[in-house]
């Protein structure tokens, strides 16, 4: 039975449960002297019955989908001849894969082991039986749920409270997904990173000065695991982020000051959304622009004055990244500056200070914690930005402070190590996760710090 048909049947049962349950509640209510005699309104009775129908069924379905593949696999394996079962688990896994491919009609080898062919037929049969059992049990579950729902129905049933309880559970589940995401990130990155650190010592990774993950040509060669010193990679990240912040911090801050202190309402209403468009432009567009327009521009300008500029210079990537961050810095600074109470400004004007003196000596110092927090958030964004550097920065890990040379960044390395075919136990791919862990930790610290500062600052003036 196809999934579509099954879904349709389930939906039919659920809507039947709802409409019929509701109708049943109405008729019962009328027979005992008006529906106000019911504890809950008929709609809630209908909903409760529908939930009885779908929720247990859904649970069963989830459990089934989770365990079915492994159960079938183990059944297939146990039916194989003895000489296959005694194989080491990796080999057995490969054989199992062959069986599954055969079952799907894919045959990559010219000759097929008759044992495997038989196993694949067995596998297909098991799968078919599995689908049949699943469909039957789900429909039985749904009908049983309906019956239980109707059985529990009584005018005194607190249907509304039950329904609301279930909805509440759903809401709690929704808000927990964010937590699960964080746990998932931490676990997935940490788990692979630990496997990496079993091969490469943590000290070598954190303090090593050479990054060349691609050196292995033969698996058994000396030093085949490459060198994984993350310092040049982080150096490149810091260099590009610093250039970006040199562009974004003054521009964003001055834009915010001008917009909130000087600009007329009309200018503010047009200029602010226009600049915020920059924040909505996809980063891949910036990357393309940096690589196609800005990098050649900088290289030509450099050659004109006799400088040697790499075509993947840190300057081009940093410059464009800075422009991407401007609206971000601007919005946060704008918020923060607007939160400074007008009385502080008035006091300063009253003493005869000009507007710029007031801004420099009163507003900015008062808003400083918030601005610093915003800048920290911007730094964290610059460090984590991927597409611009992937497209406009280099791949070779140079430890340099010269913005005209090509450097690489953490995100670039993660992308280059993980794009394409991977085997999941080489230190090359695992290194990407170690970098990811570092990236996550660094940005997390920056974010926590920044959010804390901004929050503290807001409380000060509220």
């Amino acid at each position: 039975m196809s999934n579509l048909l099954l879904t349709a049947i389930l939906l039919g049962l659920v809507s039947f449960g709802y409409t019929y349950g509701r109708k049943h509640a109405f008729t019962t209510g009328h027979s005992i002297g008006g529906i106000s005699k019911l504890h809950s309104r008929p709609t809630y009775h209908g909903m409760l019955i529908a939930m009885w129908c779908i929720l247990p069924t859904f649970l069963v379905l989830l459990i089934w989908e989770a365990i079915e593949p492994s159960v079938i696999s183990s059944m297939v394996v146990s039916s194989l001849p003895e000489k296959y079962i005694s194989l080491p688990p990796e080999r057995l896994g490969l054989i199992l894969n062959d069986v599954k491919n055969l079952a799907q009609g894919l045959n990559f080898g010219s000759t097929v082991d008759p044992v495997l062919l038989e196993a694949s037929i067995h596998y297909q049969q098991l799968q078919q039986t599995g689908i049949n059992i699943k469909s039957a049990s789900i429909i039985v579950m749904a009908i049983a749920g309906l019956l239980i729902g109707f059985k529990f129905f009584s005018p005194k049933l607190r249907a509304r409270n039950h329904v609301e309880q279930i909805v509440r559970c759903f809401l709690i589940l929704c808000s927990l997904i964010a937590i699960f995401t964080t746990i998932g990130i931490v676990l997935s990155v940490l788990f692979e990173a630990i496997r990496f650190f079993q091969k490469i010592p943590v000290g070598d990774f954190l303090f090593g000065l050479t990054w060349s993950p691609q050196t292995s040509i033969r698996p058994d060669q000396v030093g085949a695991s490459g060198e994984f010193g993350a310092v040049p990679v982080f150096g490149g990240t810091i260099l590009i982020s610093a250039i970006a912040m040199l562009v974004a911090a003054p521009t964003g801050l001055m834009s915010a000051i001008y917009l909130s202190e000087y600009a007329s309402k009309k200018v503010r209403a047009t200029a602010k959304p226009l600049i915020e468009i920059l924040a909505g432009v996809p980063t891949v567009v910036y990357g393309f622009f940096a690589a196609l327009v800005i990098a050649p521009l900088i290289r030509d300008a450099g050659t004109a004055v006799g400088l040697e500029v790499s075509s993947e210079s840190a300057l081009a990537a940093g410059l464009i990244m800075g422009i991407m961050i401007i609206p971000f810095v601007m919005s946060i600074s704008d918020d923060v500056i607007n939160a400074v109470p007008q009385t502080l400004r008035d006091g300063s004007y009253g003493l005869g200070a000009t507007k710029s003196e007031t801004i420099k000596n009163v507003v900015i110092p008062a808003a400083l914690p918030g601005i610093v927090g915003g800048l920290l958030l911007a730094v964290s964004r610059a460090i984590g930005e991927t597409m611009i550097v992937v497209m406009a920065a280099g791949l070779s890990a140079n430890l340099t402070a010269n913005p005209l040379q090509a450097v690489t960044t953490v995100t670039v390395q993660i992308v280059t190590l993980l794009v394409g075919d991977q085997e999941f136990d080489s230190s090359k791919t695992l290194a990407a996760f170690a970098l990811g862990l570092l990236l996550f930790v660094v940005t997390l610290i920056l974010n926590v710090l920044a959010l804390y500062i901004v929050r503290k600052y807001r409380e000060e003036y509220e």
Binding site: S175, A178, E192, L278
Partner: protein
């Protein structure tokens, strides 16, 4: 010095201070102008690079649908490539050398044979007849016609040789070259040949992904926002959830890609390169944004609404679901659309889960291999052909159009339904 009046000291410094004031204001203004100029620069350079991709050169070639070459019983598998070559040879009969012939064949796109095949499949009676057919020109011809290839360069420095330019000029003189609106760009999948590469495959991939993202993140985000804003007790756990959501919103997107790779691909063994996985990753990525905007929308509904509902006997759940939520809906929708727009432009996490493959077929479902629009842009940006630069810019224009539409809808919704209490 001391017998100067304070007013005099002030007066003396005043001019200088006003100058400083003016300078400061000017710096602020120039910061804004800098950002705006860059915006104009960015958009105009993308436009100038890309607008020519919307039309494309075609060559008119006289084709004799030779029955000797085309097996009438099975036209689908016939050698249409040879037909194209033969027609080119008849158009330029004086080309004899093998090397030159090869160059001649290079004038027409390799997809020209598919064009002829489609014609014959649509009308088998064509076989044995003479027809004058507009065939897609090769991308180098297209680039030459659009003026991107400099004729004055030495032959070795350009992708098109002197003989070829001579033939093209002949064709132009005979009125056999024209530009036509590039429909293929909107209806084709990816291709190695720039002239027949299109964005439909990537756009469909993006569409499936966004559909999954929306279906998951909107209800779940709203559910979480309602719980945290309306029901959750203010205690340590809710505090942790809140801080956690705020931090999650600032986690680099590539980390979500790592999560998707480790969890969805390696643990759950979902198919690689599938919009399903992309949608799941983007869902996790946009969820914090939607929760945060949803909470803001709920906060903006005044407490009096809740109190009135509770006062006439509604339960807490009824008050929230029947009265507060509908009033907060426009704000939540706006947040969701902005979140979707961001998800549409996102590419870094998709690189991690294998959505960067070269995929010609247009995906027909959420488990088919696919790319997304921004990833397609990334892939094309990496291609060396000049024609792909043009196409990349055109694809960017399409992507930006979608983003403008989405954000425009969000702004419109906000201005139309926003209520000040």
């Amino acid at each position: 010095m001391n017998n100067q009046k304070p007013m005099d000291i002030v007066q003396a410094g005043l001019a200088k201070r006003y100058k400083k004031e003016k300078r400061f204001k000017l710096i602020g203004l120039s910061a804004i102008i800098f950002s705006l100029m860059f915006l104009v620069f960015l958009f105009s350079s993308i436009f100038l690079n890309g607008y020519k991709a919307f039309y494309q050169a075609e060559l008119r070639i006289d084709v004799f649908f030779d029955p000797a070459l085309l097996d009438i019983k099975d036209p689908a598998s016939a050698n249409f490539d040879a037909l194209v070559k033969k027609s080119l040879r008849t158009t330029f009969p004086d080309v004899k050398k093998r090397k030159e012939k090869k160059k001649l064949y290079g004038l027409v796109s390799t997809d020209g044979s598919f064009q002829l095949r489609d014609m014959v499949l649509a009308d088998p009676a064509l076989v044995g007849q003479n027809r004058s057919v507009w065939l897609l020109a090769d991308d180098d011809v297209d680039m030459l016609m659009k003026g991107y290839i400099d004729r004055n360069l030495p032959q070795s420095d350009r992708r098109i040789s002197d003989v070829q330019i001579g033939w093209i000029d002949k064709l132009i003189d005979a009125g056999r070259v024209k530009f036509r609106f590039n429909i293929g760009f909107f209806t084709n999948g990816d291709s190695r040949e720039p002239e027949s590469a299109g964005i439909l495959g990537a756009a469909m991939g993006s569409f499936y992904m966004l559909a999954i993202t929306l279906v998951l993140s909107f209800p779940i985000g709203i559910g979480a926002a309602i719980y945290l804003e309306e029901f959750a007790a203010k205690n340590r756990i809710t505090d942790i959830i809140e801080v956690n959501i705020n931090n999650l919103a600032a986690v680099p997107s590539i980390v979500f890609g790592l999560l998707g790779l480790a969890v969805f691909l390696n643990f759950f063994h979902l198919p690689r390169s599938a919009p399903l996985v992309g949608g799941l990753v983007l869902f996790l990525m946009t969820l914090p944004t939607i929760i945060i905007t949803g909470r803001v929308a709920l906060q903006s509904v005044p407490p009096s609404i809740r109190e009135a509902a509770l006062g006439v006997g509604a339960s807490k759940m009824q008050a929230v679901l029947h009265h507060v939520l509908p009033l907060a809906m426009p704000g939540m929708l706006t947040g969701a659309i902005i979140g979707m727009a961001r998800a549409l432009g996102e590419s870094a996490p998709l690189l991690m889960i294998g959505m960067v493959a070269f995929i010609v077929d247009i995906p027909a479902g959420i488990t088919d291999p696919a790319t997304a629009l921004p990833v397609q842009i990334y892939l094309w940006a990496d291609s060396p052909e000049r024609a792909f630069v043009e196409r990349t810019s055109a694809a960017i224009m399409v992507l930006l159009t979608f983003l403008v539409l989405m954000n425009g809808t969000a702004v419109y919704l906000r201005s139309k339904f926003e209520r000040r209490w």
